[in-house]
Symmetry: C2
Subunit: 545 residues, 2 copies
């Protein structure tokens, strides 16, 4: 039996791997690094930084995280473990090690499917071959790295008896963590809890390793299945911020952590998460990926805390716990307040940015401060959310290949919406182009397309107001796909899939924000297609001229 006295549940965040695999969630290397920094600061125990074999870009991003984040002590006093995913092949394991070896505490995570349906239709391997491969590849990983995690993919639909044999083989070959994924989100909590309990009871040597769970939300049960796994003995949970991930996504970090926190008297389990950082990291992931958090999302949705939404304004309900089981401050949610005004100086700005957790160099600080002053001129109150939006927009953009110099738009109900753009290209030359469209955004994008000439398909377009009030900044996220686009290898399907690129822009003018977002997505696409980025322009894109 698993040692039940160990009440510490390890939080393994896979936002950068399983989360980033969801359509359109592609992040730039700078964004990945910034997110890894935020995860480490929040006390995540293990950061799955990516799938290095997917592409050279992915390998490089994991390597930078291992080097920069994997060496710095977090709230626990030691650096987070940096983990790289690898299929059960030598080439993948080599690449994973190449990327993570620079971390103080590296981990190789390899996997192979064990369900009949996956072995037959995907792997085209007999169970005996799967067993042999697990032994060989776990041992191969172990030769590089003391810390090896093995996952039997689609464990939720695997024959338990076969699973026990495979897991025992993985332990004997050196695996230190056994992760049990419900890959297709098929099980109920009763079934998944029983699966974990069966593993804890029947796999020889299981008491010497950590059992982990990895649940998907296809039936809305990911969080409950994760909890059932913990109660059956799992002491590592694989989760993502905001529950993003393939299809309906993964179990949410914020939900699992807040269950253990809120129901601590009953469950008696601990995590290392610094909960007041949850809201901020949630907003960061939503900004970087463009995947919205609905207002009714547990823990991090805008309506999640009744008392913050102004419903119970008067004092009739003296006792907050009548309708409140968590305090908003526990997850770092504070009323949106004026933090800086138009007369705030550079020092106050720098201090606030540091409090928000941004590490900006002098050039970045200059750029962000310039943008802040510009915003403070237009908008009465500048809040933390505004600061985070402009930082995202200015600092973590991809290297600029084409840059926006100016935009002019005329539209309305009279028809013929027209946009004129001025854009500078990689060779420094300036292009001016006008175009007409079905609306102002369509017109502006058409004008840009006539200059940049990268055939692409717009998959998604959305605008959100960052803060309350119509003078708020608009936040635009777009997602595009190159028409004869580059590909990336998918970890689980061994398939090449077409990459999609997200772009993000903010401005008080939503048309300007839309154009910035599109230019950002195009620049991401062009960077990956191997175009030479030039030095980033010191003057912010689209600033008033």
């Amino acid at each position: 039996m698993v040692d039940q006295k160990n009440n510490y549940v390890r939080i393994f965040d896979t936002t950068l791997r399983d989360g980033e695999q969801s359509p359109g969630a592609t992040m730039t290397s700078a964004e990945k690094l910034e997110l890894a920094r935020a995860l480490a600061r929040m006390g995540v125990d293990i950061i799955e930084a990516g799938f290095p074999a997917a592409s050279t870009d992915d390998l490089e991003a994991v390597r930078r995280i291992a080097e920069d984040i994997g060496q710095v002590a977090g709230p626990s006093g030691q650096p987070p473990i940096i983990c790289g995913l690898a299929r059960a092949t030598k080439a993948d394991i080599d690449k994973s090690w190449q990327a993570i070896q620079y971390a103080a505490r590296p981990r190789i995570h390899t996997f192979l499917a064990t369900s009949e349906i996956h072995m037959k239709h995907k792997l085209r391997m007999k169970p005996k071959q799967v067993l042999a491969s697990v032994k060989e590849m776990v041992a191969y990983a172990k030769a590089y790295c003391e810390d090896v995690e093995f996952s039997p993919e689609d464990a939720g639909r695997s024959d338990p008896e076969f699973l026990y044999v495979v897991l025992e083989a993985a332990i004997n070959a050196g695996a230190t963590t056994l992760n049990i994924p419900d890959t297709v989100g098929y099980t109920t909590p009763d079934e998944f809890g029983a699966l974990i309990a069966g593993i804890a009871a029947n796999v020889p040597g299981i008491e010497d390793v950590i059992i982990s769970v990895h649940c998907h939300d296809d039936l809305g049960l990911a969080t409950a299945n994760t909890l059932a796994g913990i109660r059956a003995g799992a002491r590592q949970v694989e989760v993502t911020i905001n529950g993003i991930g393939e299809r309906a996504g993964n179990s949410s970090l914020e939900e699992v952590v807040m269950i253990l926190h809120t129901r601590h008297p009953v469950l008696g389990l601990e995590t290392g998460i610094v909960t007041p950082q949850i809201s901020r990291v949630s907003r960061m992931v939503s900004n970087y990926t463009g995947i919205v958090v609905p207002p009714n999302k547990a823990v991090v949705g805008a309506n999640a805390f009744a008392h913050e939404a102004g419903i119970h304004q008067d004092g009739m309900l003296k006792e907050k716990t009548t309708y409140e089981i968590m305090r908003p401050e526990t997850v770092g949610l504070t009323q949106s307040t004026l933090v800086l005004g138009k007369h705030s100086g550079r020092h106050a700005f720098r201090v606030r940015m540091e409090e928000l957790g941004y590490q900006l160099n002098e050039a970045e600080l200059d750029e962000a401060f310039y943008r802040f002053k510009d915003l403070a001129d237009k908008k009465k109150t500048v809040t933390d959310a505004d600061l985070e939006a402009l930082t995202t927009d200015v600092i973590y953009q991809p290297a600029e290949i084409y840059g926006l110099d100016g935009l002019q738009v005329a539209c309305g109900t009279m028809g013929l919406p027209t946009a004129t753009v001025r854009v500078h290209g990689p060779d420094g030359e300036v292009h001016v182009q006008a175009a007409v469209g079905t609306g102002p955004v369509d017109a502006a994008y058409a004008a840009i397309d006539q200059i940049v000439r990268v055939p692409n398909k717009l998959l998604e377009f959305s605008v959100q107001a960052v803060t309350e009030g119509i003078d708020a900044q608009g936040e635009v996220t777009v997602r595009i796909q190159a028409q004869d686009g580059d590909h990336s290898t998918h970890a689980q399907c061994d398939e090449e899939h077409q990459r999609t690129y997200g772009g993000y822009g903010t401005d008080t003018d939503i048309i300007v924000a839309s154009v910035k977002a599109y230019m950002a997505a195009l620049n991401k696409l062009l960077s990956v297609q191997g175009n030479e980025p030039k030095e980033r322009n010191a003057k912010p894109v689209g600033a008033a001229e």
Copy 2:
């Protein structure tokens, strides 16, 4: 013990009551009626149509639903039960009956809190008084109506022994359904299942009534708790479309139904839901309430089905079930395809609208067809999603008090975004006003404010593309709150709370769509404040002139 042989789980939809209570989800009476029609057609067993004591408007909306929807047979062959919520007071029960009596199968649902914290801080009643009140009020409701449901509010935090006594008293007073709410979303599936099992085992007379469960998602466990309740003997589940509702919302209809459907071989339970209608009703609720469905939402999110998202394009995975546990068609999700082109005639249009489930009168059909032709001129392909968006926009708008005649906008990176609007007022006079703002939307809203002069606060603003491609229609939803706004009584807190109003607009020009959405929200606000609506203009708002 509850009769476990009964394998039919009743679906009680409370989108129109608990869902509509969430901030900004306020729907017009026409929208409520249309949603009730869609729910009935989908096979919902019980529609909780509202809380009639909240306001005259709410009572009237419930009455119309009882009259129009509560008389028409659904897929089961009989009309849905129409339910009205009432606090445990005679006045509330009177109003509930006033509204629902026109249905073929009316139900009164009354509730009173039984947890120590609620009895002490909210009700300021002793347990003995609560027990007496339950007896009296259930009997009072029973005198009106054979079908009475009783809920002990905050049951999840109530003393089970006291709960048993209260429930027994409710049965003896005539309750036919006992609904057990986890009002604050506090319990884990193990705890909630045990609570239901305890009730099934310990309440005398429980075998003659239906046990119902009502779970909230504050810890992300609503769906799992609902399932645990069903497995412990509950045969009614209270759910909402997209899981909307107070705070983190309620258990999702689509998740609970698809668990029972997908895992039928294991669970052996049935519902009466026509699952291919799920996607359409989900989009309708998202449109009407302005509450977004994130791409990673189980069952109804845009990414929920991997194969639809184009990730596994080639034939390598011959066996779809490798990564797919539900077929997209099961929930009515089909590839966005061209259904109508610019040369389609009125007959083809009418047929398609009927297939989509819209019952339009001749005038509405004219208006929708006019808009369709206008759209088909601007946009290459007109999809089902486009048709639904324009129907929502044109047909189910609130009665028009102020109407938009024209809009002209100039904006860009040169500063001074300027908008000019032409608006006609309730007395027929035409106003033209120009204003400058921080962006084009801010400028247009400022111009409208100078004409309409209803001080209000913009709480939320978002734009989504309806379909793929930048020539798609933009869908804008806004949410405003009147500054010295009217109030509505909150069922659970007995508090007056300030109403918020959602507005919705679509156009290929997102600034035009933004203005339409704002005008719709203002008209909703003005209607409720008792301004005389005039006859709706035959010419669609904002059509090209």
